[in-house]
Symmetry: C2
Subunit: 246 residues, 2 copies
């Protein structure tokens, strides 16, 4: 499934408010669409509580397994904002006051730069600051981990400002909608999947509308491979049950 040429990613959403339903996460949903359009293979989303051990474990694991890791949430000034510390622990780095960030905060808040505000300059030693067009505050990154805020407006503007550095070859996708039953399709579909291991084939039954009964998707970065699998699939389907292709 993980094709050699693909860059992979994980999203770590941090926050008790998501796990208790006090807030609905919007950031993972947004990033799913962005990463897909960028040609990045998203391999995992994990939602965890505001707990520094859990954060550091998730970050360490994802950073080791995937090319890019994006965290969402847990970056404010209060006791439940533990993401930066979790990232530091994940990489066994000390937390230090980042000189450049500290200068930015002093510059912005002036006399109002009290300890709660200055704390926003604490970062893992050696953290990188990525500046983006139109961003007041940079994105903090440690190795392949990009720390983004939980507030959806800021999550989006920060990701959009750094997006182009992740752009890769896009996915090529085909879809087939049919009125055939998924059970009846299964043997043929399994055959096409076995014959075209380089193409990711998905089968999704639909029970909520009468338009079609199964949507089959075929996907890869190699368009010719997708087209070959698509042709092979079409040749095996009952053409009178075919609703449409995309």
């Amino acid at each position: 499934m993980a094709h050699v040429q693909e860059k992979t990613a994980a999203i770590i959403v941090i926050g008790n408010e998501i796990l208790t339903g006090k807030s609905q996460d919007e950031n993972a949903g947004f990033l799913i669409g962005e990463l897909y359009k960028l040609g990045i293979r998203l391999r995992r989303i994990v939602v965890i509580p505001d707990d520094v051990d859990e954060i550091s474990r998730a970050v360490r694991e994802c950073a080791a397994q995937f090319d890019y890791v994006f965290t969402s949430g847990g970056v404010g000034p209060t006791h439940d904002d533990l993401t930066i510390e979790g990232v530091a622990r994940a990489f066994n780095r000390k937390m230090v006051r980042h000189a450049e960030l500290a200068a930015m905060i002093r510059n912005y808040f002036g006399q109002g730069a009290d300890e709660a505000r200055m704390k926003m300059a604490d970062a893992p030693e050696g953290a990188e600051l990525i500046k983006g067009e139109g961003l007041r505050w940079p994105v903090l990154a440690v190795e392949n981990v990009y720390v983004l805020p939980g507030v959806p407006e800021y999550f989006r503007s920060k990701f959009l400002a750094i997006r182009e550095r992740f752009r890769s070859k896009p996915f090529h996708t085909r879809a087939v909608f049919t009125l055939e039953d998924e059970f009846d399709l299964a043997p043929r579909l399994n055959q096409v999947a076995a014959d075209h291991p380089e193409v990711e084939i998905g089968s999704y039954p639909n029970f909520s509308s009468p338009d079609y009964r199964v949507k089959i998707t075929l996907e890869s970065k190699e368009a010719p491979a997708v087209e070959r699998a698509f042709a092979a699939l079409l040749s095996l389907l009952d053409s009178s049950s075919l609703v449409r292709t995309e």
Copy 2:
């Protein structure tokens, strides 16, 4: 954070279609609300691809760490339906044809019970079938892992049919909405959190409307503990900036 008397849960959402944005997950969002109302502490949500190794690893890890694990998706008849096999591997159990399930399938499909349909009777050895009012097909469970389908209508009806077995003491929650700035609040909030470790306190800034600037939540299964923390917090807040409490 994990309080002794609380039962914990994890949700494992399985499906490439979620990670690529072809479908939006509705099941985790639904279950977040249900588990909260049942008094179950949801500790993790993980979304992973249709990959048997990843499924078995996630199931093994979550089953060992949490009281209940719910899986969503990957239970149909096609090559990308790997959840049941992943659960079997997580518990080192063989896949066997479940006699009772096989009889139900033969009974329902009659002459149409071909191999694709009979495959739905394959389950980890010793799997439990949980029957629920109004359910045509039982919920399959292995140890503390409950296997639910990805199609939202079926996910819901199956979970609702087995829901009562999970009911526990409910959470007691208070909320405070204020116009104070989160940076200014931070020292007082951190103090209340430190003084009331048995209460989970969250702080959520709001930038999308002018109604309030920070929402503070206080939560525990012990109502008196929440009320004590709530009173302590109110005594520290600027009353002229207080918008409302809940």
